[in-house]
Symmetry: C2
Subunit: 363 residues, 2 copies
């Protein structure tokens, strides 16, 4: 697949200007851009600038409010529910995470459930906000239904990611960020573009039978929960996706399960939605609310060093810790640029024309 | 495999007397027995009375203290670290969970990390303590290393379970309780007894290649994280097991990763242990710290009802929610009794002889 390379600064400037044209404040546009592009930097291409067009379409149909009144509607010393007022999840989620961090400063931990929001980019960005504060960070979100529960032939849950970031001392931190499915939808899209089949275990057909057709979701099929099938533990992936849905949406009053609002603006909203918008769940735990941060961090260094130096399996050179591959990618792409496939470049060019903005590949 | 049926009361009386003979107080012996047998009732036979002999052996070698001074060694309004003083995890964990619940009553949520403990039975018991309080409960524990990280040929993590219990209104609650591996070690033991092979995806050999040998763990092999292999998301199961290890053991000062203390008393303790004993992590979130409990519970009823009535896949009659199968089993076994295989009955008979106690099957 042909791709062009753009510098981080080029994409930053382009996305920033799109968010400004949509009516975001300077502050919100910068924040949304940083969150969005953190996905491209970390190699999670499906959640980065490739989605910018999608956000614009949601704004055009009135599902995204670029001047939201994001507010706490209920709270205790360690909890809050935030109403995102249909804002960009890219803006609502980091603001909610900041509330969680502020509460953790006061009483040890902070937990914020968010309703009435939209897609928030990569969960890892929000979780990692805790790292500089010597806190453990957590972020989850529900999403439009693409996943069938174990034994079901119906899309009921989103890919519902979980991110957990843990600070360390001298070692690079632990940063897990993963969909609770076997494979992300983005991987099916890549197979579609390449005209390839997908591995058994990623998806099922309309009757619930295993499928290797990369287009099966358009034919009534569904993604599979982590574990793929019952014998390999798919009920566990289904439980994880359920937990994310409940913490993010039932706890906040967002719409949940098969009623989660769809990301594509052309898909009609579900009928009889039981709540408002998408939901997120953000958490922060202050390390020294448990033990001295220096003790914890020196133990985390031992943990990280031991796992990074575990004996590799035959045919592999190295064992990774969650976040290692993304961190390496981030360093490389910040230096050498971010590759975008032709489809994405075309989308961005059309978007640029709409707003009088130019996007040009790095020479 | 031949098995005999025992009533809950028979097993309760037997286990209670064993814990009393070990020197537990009446209160601790009752608590330990209730926790232990909740596994047998819920059909998680590997974690129930079959383990009683193992606990006795740990006590005999001085690794379990039956008169522990369980105490909070550090706390904030929403957090605590508890030193289990080498007590039975069956006693330490519910006491730590009660601390989490008490903190949630005060400030919305409570989070307790525990060190210097032992195996705590099923995670689900502790998480479910929250249900009658209109709280969401969480429980995790690390455990002796049986699991290889993705790309590794070394046992580095335990089966590290996660349990989450969510109250509902009229519907039966959501209760997830699962190991972060593809299959629990107990499933390999069942295959061993039946002289059967295991499915591909459960375990690997000493070099890290897939294995269907049910005895492979004794030959340098390892269990696989949920997801089985990288292409099917095993790095996600590995990340989950890591999170459980970090929250339970690094946050509390327990021993972690490959240094977690082994359950079998004959296995020597790892050298250079970085912390004390096993670790647990317990959490409680008060529902009305987020939104009125009645609103939440009526939404949870909608959620549960919708998932329980999802369209079944071809060849299946019903879609389950986490905890449904265990709850049905609990109702049945409370009425008709608990089947124990001959090996377990023999172990209990030997144990009974040691302590002058009789165990007799239900007529």
């Amino acid at each position: 697949m042909k791709s062009s390379i753009f510098s981080y600064q080029q994409l930053y400037s382009f996305a920033l200007n799109v968010f400004l044209k949509m009516g975001c404040s300077n502050e919100d546009a910068s924040l949304a851009t940083s969150v969005l592009l953190s996905a491209d930097l970390r190699g999670i291409d499906s959640h980065g600038i490739a989605r910018l067009v999608g956000y614009v379409r949601l704004w055009e149909v009135g599902r995204i409010n670029t001047t939201p009144n994001i507010k706490i509607i209920h709270e205790t010393p360690s909890t809050a529910v935030v109403d995102g007022d249909k804002g960009l999840g890219l803006v609502v989620a980091p603001k909610a995470m900041q509330i969680a961090i502020d509460k953790a400063k006061q009483v040890g931990t902070g937990w914020v459930s968010v309703k009435n929001s939209n897609h928030f980019g990569i969960a890892g960005y929000h979780a990692m906000m805790s790292l500089s504060q010597d806190m453990i960070g957590m972020a989850m979100t529900n999403a439009s239904a693409l996943v069938a529960p174990t034994y079901a032939a119906e899309k009921m849950l989103g890919t519902n990611p979980i991110a957990v970031a843990v600070p360390a001392g001298n070692e690079a931190p632990f940063v897990a960020d993963f969909a609770t499915t076997t494979a992300a939808n983005g991987k099916l899209e890549i197979a579609q573009r390449k005209n390839e089949t997908i591995p058994t275990g990623w998806a099922q057909d309309a009757e619930g039978k295993p499928s290797i057709d990369a287009h099966i979701l358009k034919k009534g099929g569904a993604l599979l929960p982590l574990g793929s099938e019952k014998e390999l533990g798919s009920h566990k992936g289904y439980a994880l996706g359920s937990i994310v849905d409940i913490f993010s949406a039932v706890l906040s009053g967002a719409s949940f399960g098969p009623w989660a609002p769809p990301f594509p603006a052309y898909v009609p909203m579900p009928e009889n939605m039981p709540g408002e918008g998408l939901g997120h769940f953000l958490g922060a735990m202050r390390i020294d609310a448990f033990r001295p941060a220096s003790d914890f961090k020196s133990n985390m260094d031992i943990w990280l060093n031991r796992f990074r130096n575990a004996k590799p399996a035959q045919g592999h050179e190295k064992v990774y810790v969650a976040g290692d591959i993304e961190r390496t990618m981030e360093g490389e792409r910040m230096k050498t640029g971010i590759p975008l496939v032709a489809d994405v470049v075309n989308d961005l060019t059309v978007l640029g024309n709409k707003f009088g903005l130019i996007i040009e590949a790095h020479k």
